[in-house]
Amino acid sequence: MALALAAFAASACASAQAATPTQVGIRIHYSRFEPTTIEVPAGVPITFTIVNDDPIDHEWLIGDTSFHDRHRTGTEPVHGDRPDEVSLPPMSIKRTTLTFAPGTYTYICHFPGHEAYGMVGVLVAKG
């Protein structure tokens, strides 16, 4: 899949002046994302509100195949500096804003065993 994310928070803020950000809520419960499929407009800042309803740590990482390949073998001690990489402590709520190029992306929790358990969702950005 081509180009991952077109722009992140900083640029999203700029473009948000001209377009109302789309709001998307994602819940994590029993180590599952709800919903598991999302469709958003491309080129528009999308604000995600992610609720970790579990008493354990999770993360919400969104990107293309190469992005997730890196994270499957990554060794970063923490996430948090990038809008497409959200760490969620137990019973926490985080918000992040992203703007997508047209395409299909996946969001995955890359903690050990979580992806295999089913913590995977698909986002389609339509232009």
């Binding site: 819940r27 740590d57 990554g74 923490v78 137990p90 985080k94 903690f111 050990p112 358990y117």
Partner: protein, 345 residues
């Protein structure tokens, strides 16, 4: 009515705990990744409303900390070092029997109340904490204390908390064990005394953190004052009845002579159930009735408790579930303690 039930179980869920920050991405294991637990045996006895567990934690090397979370049927009145030969004697009894028979064998709306720490005990290299709370609060407590729970843990903790909101967290410090001169394979026996009308055998938690196809092997010993009724019947779904007979006088005498085991009665029925199942099969627990009534499907985990029935009211159920008895986890979950993480919103 005088009742006596005893069971032997094994460790329920084991987690490796590290004290160093771990990576946030996949593919990592704790800094002590090679550590492993050997088979862990527990004997649980139930007599006149008091349940006695004797369990041993063993390890096969490595360093760092291992942990386990075990659902309990009630609040313990004491947790102390167990006797020296109860577990070994029980295993020997069934092995002898086997040879003689030659037979086949909604969105979060505020955090739940914190888990309440009911008791903390240190036994050799084991740090044991008894907790009361719902699945969420116990899960948060475990997370905050270094357990990295597997992804299925939230659902499993809720499953058990709906039946009994009591859990025992045990952390085995392999470094401390080595410092105390413990050798690979050595075990630390622990004796837990629990007044309860409803002892039970959790089996589902054995599969926690395992892939669906992973094997779960366990031995469950039950010692009742008469032949028990079991649900599910131990003939399918990875369960097999391996021993069912009157307990020998020599076994009972030997058990009674061990430390803290003078409660063992003069007569009892010994049952051994072998578990060899795929993790995906273990969606149930073992309900045991020692008074002739039919075991409950709820107690067996085959049905959810009715929402209007508090977990603590299960004493009204006409059955007895036998205490934990799980032997032998084939593998264990790797856990790394994460440093607090922040993210820019």
């Amino acid at each position: 009515m005088r009742r006596f039930i005893a069971g032997a179980t094994a460790l329920v869920a084991a987690f490796v705990v590290s004290t160093q920050p771990a990576a946030a991405c996949a593919g990592l294991i704790g800094p002590n990744g090679a550590v492993n637990l050997l088979r862990t045996t527990t004997f649980a006895g139930y007599h006149d409303g008091i349940e006695h567990y004797v369990t041993a934690f063993k390890f096969q090397g490595g360093s760092g900390q291992f942990g386990s979370l075990v659902p309990l049927p009630g609040v313990p009145t004491s947790v102390e070092k167990g006797g020296d030969w109860t577990l070994q004697r029980l295993i020997r009894e069934t092995e002898i029997a086997k040879f003689s028979v030659r037979g086949p064998v909604p969105l979060a709306q505020g955090a739940a109340a914190d888990a309440v720490v009911l008791m903390q005990v240190k036994i050799d290299a084991l740090d044991i904490t008894v907790l009361s709370g719902g699945g969420e609060s116990v899960g948060r407590w475990a997370t905050e204390h270094g357990f990295r729970l597997p992804p299925d843990a939230p659902e499993v903790l809720d499953f058990y908390a709906a039946r009994s909101p009591i859990f025992m967290a045990a952390i085995f410090d392999a470094d401390a064990a080595k410092a105390k001169g413990q050798q690979v394979g050595d075990g630390t026996p622990v004796h837990i005394t629990i007044p309860t009308a409803n002892p039970w055998v959790p089996l589902r938690i054995l599969a926690t953190g395992k892939n669906a196809s992973a094997r779960v092997e366990a031995d469950v010993y039950l010692l009742t004052d008469r032949k028990p009724l079991l649900m599910p019947a131990p003939f399918a779904n990875g369960m097999q009845l391996e021993h069912s007979a009157t307990a020998s006088a020599s076994l009972l005498s030997d058990l009674r002579s061990d430390k803290g085991m003078d409660w063992v009665p003069e007569m009892a029925w010994l049952t051994k159930i072998g578990i060899n199942a795929a993790a995906s099969q273990l969606t149930y627990d073992l309900a045991v009735s020692a008074n002739g009534t039919l075991p409950s499907r709820v107690a067996a985990g085959l049905e959810a408790p009715t929402p209007t029935t508090p977990a603590s009211d299960r004493s009204s159920q006409p059955l007895a579930l036998v205490g934990i008895a799980v032997l032998g986890l084939g593998a264990l979950l790797l856990i790394g303690r994460f440093a607090p993480r922040t993210i820019a919103p």
